[in-house]
């Protein structure tokens, strides 16, 4: 129930927003996201050992000791030949992302506090309604363990985002919103194909009645949308992975993997499917950029870890080289593009492409270290990039432009803000001691570690490592042009960051530092269990995959 209330609390708030008078809308929205954040903190308890672990459900057959917490499952849509469950639950994979979502949403909501000063006199009620609806969609996506439900939440996210960019955005908002919408939709259409195919193929696999992968004593006789079942049921796994299982004349697992991958790669975003991102960021209002960078991009990485790899491990093996190449290209290409930007926000957007490339690379190599690094990178980027976008927003509110070359000396004008900016951008740069470093080094080490398996692992690691120079290049150049140098006349009157702005920046900065200093105690201790299980399962499939490879 707790999880359900976390998911739907924003929806209730959204409806209240519509009812309340205009003046109170933002109060309601902030309260709602604060309550949601507070509720989501309870999700951490079982991972600390303080919660009620007895009600947890073992997954992966319990063989790895991994557990699902706060499971809430109800029959939802039941037909003659199918049944769709309302199935929510958290494990080490989704818990950090849900907490990140509520955290970023709360701060983004605070960042929307000065809505009336945006000079876009469009319905404040609509804005906060959609904002909270978006939050619900995001939490739901991370919490859903039924593919059908997952898909629905996935699509629910899309619509509010479209309007938030398209209505409250900048000059080219229509173009950006539609581009965002279409790219994501194109990806999710492929996901829909996979959804249907997986349902029917799993039905084939368990036609005679197979024991459930993780619910002891239960036999399943028809196709399922249950993501855990799909990943843990031996009959389904064997059928999916067999080279004789064909879909449209092609081997099933690699094809389905690719369908899902394309859907998630759009969100990640991976080059060359990234072009919606800079446009969307540039046009979106600051809080929406924060959500976009902080949470929405993580959907892609989460999708890989939740769907692609556990369900189609052989597909992961088959496509590893392609994925890693895309990852490395994203890292370098994103960094180079960022270097050439003169629009502050676009630069940060491209840096996101570069950083999320590490996620893809870390996942593609399928090592423990790589997965851990990818997961950490998602959280680290989820903290540092909304901070960077907010930093951009703060000066945009004052200067009403984002031309990097027109700034300068802002550290003199706004010392506190300048200090925060230094922390944020150095975290983005991957300075050791701040959060960005841990993810990068883990991914690099994990990539190198995969040398046993992939001949390209070492060159990939070296190329990815060379990005540290490029990253330092564009970040420092940015800092120099915006924050250093003499004060400019036109900006001299800028007020220092306000209390509200500091209230948003300080938690981000604190987490940037904390995650960099204590990665194990704040993060890895809770997620490693799940990640190790997934990697082990993938690796086990790789062993059989060698025989499978011979079938191609």
């Amino acid at each position: 129930m707790l999880l359900t209330s976390v998911v739907f609390a924003p929806l209730i708030g959204a409806i209240v927003c519509l009812i309340m008078p205009k003046e109170l809308t933002r109060v309601v929205a902030v309260l709602t996201s604060a309550i949601t954040f507070a509720l989501s903190l309870f999700l951490i308890l079982p991972f600390l050992g303080g919660g009620d672990a007895s009600r947890a459900i073992e997954v992966f057959g319990g063989a790895y000791g991994e557990k699902l917490h706060f499971v809430h499952r109800l029959p939802w849509i039941t037909g003659e030949t199918f049944s769709i469950e309302y199935f929510l639950g958290v494990d080490g994979l989704s818990m950090p992302l849900i907490v990140l979502t509520t955290f970023v949403a709360l701060l983004a909501c605070l960042a929307s506090w000065n809505f009336n000063e945006w000079k876009i006199n469009k319905s404040i009620k609509g804005y906060f309604f959609l904002f909270l609806l978006l939050e619900m969609g995001m939490i739901g996506t991370f919490a859903a363990l039924n593919f059908f439900l997952f898909y629905i939440f996935w699509e629910i996210m899309l619509l509010p985002m479209y309007f938030l960019i398209g209505v409250w955005g900048g000059p080219r908002k229509e173009y950006a919103a539609i581009k965002f919408f279409l790219f994501t939709l194109a990806g999710s259409v492929l996901m829909l194909v996979a959804l249907v195919a997986m349902f029917f193929y799993s039905g084939e696999a368990v036609a005679g009645g197979a024991p459930s992968g993780y619910l002891s004593g239960v036999e399943i006789t028809q196709g399922t949308f249950d993501l855990i079942e799909l990943a843990t049921n031996d009959a389904i796994q064997q059928h999916f992975g067999a080279s004789s299982t064909l879909f449209l004349g092609r081997a099933f697992a690699p094809l389905m993997f690719m369908f899902l991958f394309v859907g998630f790669a759009v969100k990640l975003p991976a080059v060359p499917l990234h072009t919606w991102l800079p446009d969307a960021h540039v046009e979106a209002p600051t809080p929406i950029s924060m959500i976009l960078a902080g949470v929405l991009l993580k959907m892609g990485g989460y999708g890989f870890l939740r769907l692609c790899y556990p369900i189609f491990p052989t597909g992961g093996v088959a496509w590893a080289g392609v994925l890693a190449t895309i990852g490395v290209v994203s890292i370098l290409y994103g960094a180079l593009c960022a270097m050439a930007q003169t629009d502050f926000k676009k630069l940060v957007a491209y840096s996101s492409v570069s950083h999320m490339g590490y996620v893809l690379l870390g996942i593609a190599v399928m090592t423990h270290t790589g997965f851990q690094g990818a997961m950490f990178q998602m959280i680290a980027h989820g903290v540092s990039s909304p901070m960077c976008f907010f930093l951009v927003g703060v000066i945009y509110d004052r200067a009403h432009h984002r031309e990097i070359n027109r700034f300068g000396g802002l550290w003199l004008t706004m010392p506190k803000y300048g200090t925060m900016a230094t922390i944020g951008f150095f975290a983005s740069l991957g300075l050791p001691g701040l959060c960005g470093f841990i993810g990068e080094i883990y991914v690099l080490l994990g990539t190198f570690e995969a040398r046993h398996q992939f001949a390209w692992a070492v060159p990939a690691a070296i190329l990815a490592a060379s990005a540290v120079i490029l990253t330092a290049g564009y970040v420092l150049w940015l800092i120099q042009r915006v924050y250093l140098g003499p004060e400019r006349e036109e900006h001299a009157g800028f007020p220092e960051a306000t209390g509200r702005e500091m209230l948003i920046l300080v938690p981000f900065a604190a987490f940037c530092i904390l995650f960099g200093i204590l990665p194990k105690h704040l993060f890895f201790d809770y997620v490693n269990g799940t990640l190790v299980n997934i990697v082990d399962a993938v690796q086990a499939a790789t062993q059989t995959g060698a025989a499978y490879a011979a079938g191609f």
Binding site: K122, L159, F163, G166, V167, K179, F181, L182, L185, A186, V189, R250, A251, P254, T275, V317, A318, W319, A320, G321, V322, Y333, L336, C337, M339, A340, H368, T369, L412, F426, L431, P432, G433, I441, L444, L445, G446, F448, E449, R451, Q453, F454, W456, V458, P459, A461, I462, A465, I469, L476, G485, P486, P519, K520, F524, G545, A546, Y548, A549, F552
Partner: protein
């Protein structure tokens, strides 16, 4: 936790506390108070460091061993990298203790100096006081640097490594309203990042092949793998790196070079030297602390720490880089007119000496040089800071002159620094300043490896037994001195120096190929560009076989009291894992060290000659610098009138001057020698110096006693005097003669003044190149990729327009108008931006998806036989 460990750990944390206080309360504390907070924090650390140093000095070697071992077991579990646990701990050994003392001591006095320096207007950035911020950064630097020194783990070393880089960035760019300052800061950071790229590569190799990032653990694993031909040294184990086949020794070499790349960045070695001279844009105390004494020495410290992971080829690489740096940079220093730049180039050159020293195997001498250099170079920089502050921020030496009368304390202490860096000393008497001993020792080792390396030597004395005292053995021709315990079968420890074990053939025809257990890559003798001499090297036996390493603990002074008395200078620190039972030695590699020594090439002679010639150049430009600043007639009356000195600033100078003397003789050298016993104890390492306890002894040992070295002793020993005289003759009457000489050398002088055009070259090649590539990427992204996306949209739109008017119009309209209406209902308050055209876009979505599916299915054919898993190794 022993006291020492606690002291050091607290000593690291105190500056961090100061940093936090200054960060939050700095502005409230105000101008002098904020500075005193930092000073007292560093003072407290310095007290702890002194307590540690004194206590440690009183411990005997056995106690030190057990303390080191205890410290290595007392660690905090920080994170897991895959299956490898990363632990934080204090690396407690002699090197840490002295480095910690050096850093805290110098930092403390520089902080004191800074209060004086910042008393004027030096704390202002664009007219606003940033006083507290300066001390805030300094405290952070103190924390990071001390953390770097005590790190027992390569990953943590790297983390602190980057943090000192950050402090350096912030402090170079302290006057960030000035373009040149922020440029210099950026240049420093990015250049360091280039080095760090190599460092990360090295870390990856260590992580992957040695399965640990712990310094001791990695060294032990490295030796173990070498001995058992497993892991990185496995037969037939090849890694393909962009077509470059790496195996065994070459792989290990790449690892060593990777780690060294980090040092190249921080210690500003060729070709990454470009940032250090520019870094002088920071306030002068920063130049003294970070860019002369401590941070730039971190690279040298790193190489010293990972010395056990370096193969002979990696060492050769290091030696060559060091030699290039020391020579080129010394020459540039000759033409500098900016007092700080002159010191900066001299720092580069001296760092080159240290790196060169490590490369040739003079581990002790190199670190001793680091210590002495830290004191006198800090003092020189502070002196220049006093001059600059006194002369109202005038840095051009051409406008100075005759300042001795106005600034006597500064002038005198500066002179002491000049003497120390020049290697002032009197050959034959064992009297001199730090640079004299350390530099000469490095040169002696280089000479030995260049000229004495392949000669067979006569054998005297019984191997495996303790030799007589130092003097009796020093009659031999060799410089090489190592402590070699006997094999484990013999429980009685044996220490002998200078005498190779008789088991090794000294036949000049014993080829490398004939040696069993030699690694194939060595057998090919193409490990590096330098061919191995065919004869078995006489150095072959000087290192102890690694198998004996673990029972070095047995080699205690207590076992051999006589020997201990005779050789009071010996101190031996064991491997911290001494308590662990030794592994059985792999017979195939029993004499592996022997064979690997045989593969160690002699040093190319030019390396030695470059270093030797530079020994003459250094005193010349230092004397030139001092003379131009303090002696002669005042050349700019305005500057001269303003010149003054303040006690807050000259007092630290005097303290450092005193320590320049102290550091030359006592405490440091024995402790470094002590640390060397472990640090240079490795299979693939050539370590030459390593016994003498004090600098004077080592000097006598290495240079003076042997006839063969007499010319070297004299030639190096008097270089300072010769160069001083030349400098005096040229500059005693002002700058006229100097200018004439410069005109005489024309293009050469221009080349030096332009610093060999490195800045221009890099600016064009990397900065412009990178920006150009970035612009290309941007163009590609904006026009090409987006063009495809937009084109697809356009085509679909046309198609939709066509089909929309066609047969399906009613159906499609029905569905999508309904959809649009629904979404409009939901967003009742929101005007949809796209009311009229939404059907086109949704149609596009469907059409686009269909196209993608078709593409994936039929064009991209990953499922064709054999293509799918080709990436996987069978």
């Amino acid at each position: 936790m022993s006291n020492y460990e606690t002291y050091l750990a607290i000593g690291v944390v105190i500056p961090l506390i100061s940093f936090v206080i200054l960060l939050f309360f700095g502005p409230r504390l105000g101008k002098p108070t904020a500075g005193w907070v930092a000073v007292s924090a560093m003072g407290a650390s310095c007290v702890l460091a002194t307590m540690t140093l004194v206590g440690w000095h009183g411990e005997d070697s056995i106690a030190r061993m057990s303390l080191t071992a205890a410290a290595s077991h007392n660690q905090f579990h920080w994170a897991d990298l895959g299956a490898v646990a990363v632990r934080i701990g204090v690396k407690l050994d002699s090197l840490t203790v002295i480095m910690f003392f050096m850093v805290t001591f110098i930092s403390f006095w520089i902080f004191v100096f800074s209060i004086g320096y910042m008393a004027g207007h030096s704390d202002e950035v664009a007219g606003k006081s940033k006083y507290h911020r300066f001390f805030c950064y300094l405290s952070l630097f103190g924390f990071s640097m001390l953390g770097l020194v005590v790190s027992s783990n390569l990953l943590f070393l790297f983390i602190f490594w980057e943090l000192v880089g950050l402090c350096s960035y912030l402090l170079i760019g302290f006057y960030f309203d000035k373009k040149f300052a922020s440029d210099a800061a950026m240049k420093a950071f990015i250049t360091n990042r280039v080095g760090d790229f190599g460092f990360i590569f090295g870390l990856m190799m260590v992580f992957f092949f040695l399965h640990t990032l712990d310094l001791d653990g990695a060294a032990a694993e490295f030796a173990h793998q070498y001995r058992s031909e497993s892991g990185i040294f496995e037969q037939g184990f090849v890694i393909n790196l962009f077509g470059w086949q790496l195996s065994g020794m070459t792989l290990a070499t790449a690892m060593g070079i990777g780690l060294f790349c980090g040092a190249m960045g921080k210690s500003a070695q060729f070709p990454l030297q470009v940032w250090l001279p520019d870094a002088m844009a920071g306030p002068t105390p920063v130049s003294a602390l970070i860019h002369a004494a401590t941070m730039v020495a971190a690279g040298v410290y790193l190489v010293a720490r990972v010395f056990r992971l370096l193969t002979p080829d990696a060492q050769m690489f290091i030696a060559v880089i060091g030699c290039i740096t020391l020579t080129l940079m010394a020459l540039v220093a000759v033409v500098q007119t900016d007092i700080k730049k002159c010191l900066a180039y001299s720092t580069l050159s001296q760092l080159g000496y240290m790196i060169f020293g490590l490369g040739v195997g003079a581990w002790i001498a190199a670190l001793f040089h680091l210590m002495t250099h830290a004191f006198f170079k800090a003092m020189l920089f502070l002196g220049s800071g006093q001059v600059i502050e006194g002369c109202h921020h005038e840095q051009d030496m051409r406008k100075m002159g005759g300042l001795m009368k106005k600034m006597p304390m500064t002038g005198l202490t500066f002179l002491i620094g000049v003497l120390a860096i020049s290697g002032f000393g009197i050959p034959g008497m064992g009297v001199g300043l730090g640079g004299y001993f350390s530099k000469d020792e490095i040169l002696a080792v280089a000479w030995d490896r260049s000229y004495m390396w392949n000669e067979p030597i006569e054998h005297h004395g019984d191997a495996g037994h303790a030799e007589g005292d130092l003097q009796s053995t020093s009659a031999g021709t060799s410089v090489a001195v190592r402590i070699v315990p006997e094999g484990r079968s013999d429980n009685s420890p044996a220490i002998h120096r200078r005498d190779p074990m008789p088991t090794v053939t000294r036949s000049p025809v014993g080829t490398v190929e004939s040696t069993p257990g030699l690694h194939p890559s060595l057998r090919d003798s193409n490990v590096s560009g330098i061919r191995n001499p065919p004869a078995i090297n006489r150095r072959a036996t000087f290192d102890r076989p690694y198998g004996a390493d673990r029972d070095v603990a047995a080699l205690t002074a207590a076992d051999t009291p006589d020997h201990r008395n005779a050789e009071s200078s010996f101190r031996l620190v064991s491997d911290p894992h001494a308590a662990i039972p030794s592994e059985p030695r792999d017979s195939s590699r029993a004499d592996a060290p022997t064979s690997i020594k045989a593969g160690i090439p002699a040093l190319p002679k030019w390396l030695f000659w470059c270093a030797l010639i530079t020994a003459y150049v250094t005193p010349f430009y230092m004397m030139r610098c001092w003379w131009m600043t303090f002696m002669g007639k005042p050349r700019d009356q305005h500057v001269h009138d303003h010149a003054h000195e303040s006690p807050m600033m000259w007092f630290p100078l005097v303290v450092l001057a005193v320590f320049t003397f102290v550091a030359s003789y006592w405490v440091f050298r024995p402790m470094i020698a002590d640390a060397a016993a472990v640090a240079t104890n490795a299979v693939a390492v050539v370590g030459l110096d390593g016994v003498a306890d004090t600098a004077g002894q080592a000097h006598g040992e290495l240079i003076h006693v042997h006839d063969a070295h007499h010319w070297l002793a004299t030639g190096v020993g008097w270089s300072w005097l010769i160069a001083f005289v030349v400098a005096f003759l040229i500059y005693r009457n002002g700058l006229a003669l100097g200018s004439k000489l410069k005109a005489l050398f024309g293009p050469l002088a221009t080349l030096l003044e332009k610093k060999y055009y490195f800045d221009e070259l890099y600016g064009f090649l990397f900065v412009m190149g990178c920006r150009a590539v970035a612009q290309v990427c941007r163009f590609f992204d904006t026009y090409i990729i987006d063009m495809f996306a937009n084109l697809a949209a356009k085509i679909t739109e046309r198609f939709a327009a066509f089909s929309g008017r066609g047969v399906d119009a009613n159906v499609v309209d029905g569905v999508f108008n309904g959809l649009a209406a629904t979404s409009m209902d939901i967003s009742n308050l929101v005007r949809s931006p796209q009311t009229g055209r939404i059907r086109n876009y949704v149609l596009f979505a469907a059409g686009g998806a269909a196209v993608v599916i078709l593409l994936v299915l039929f064009l991209v054919s990953p499922l064709a036989p054999g293509t799918m898993l080709s990436a996987i190794n069978p």
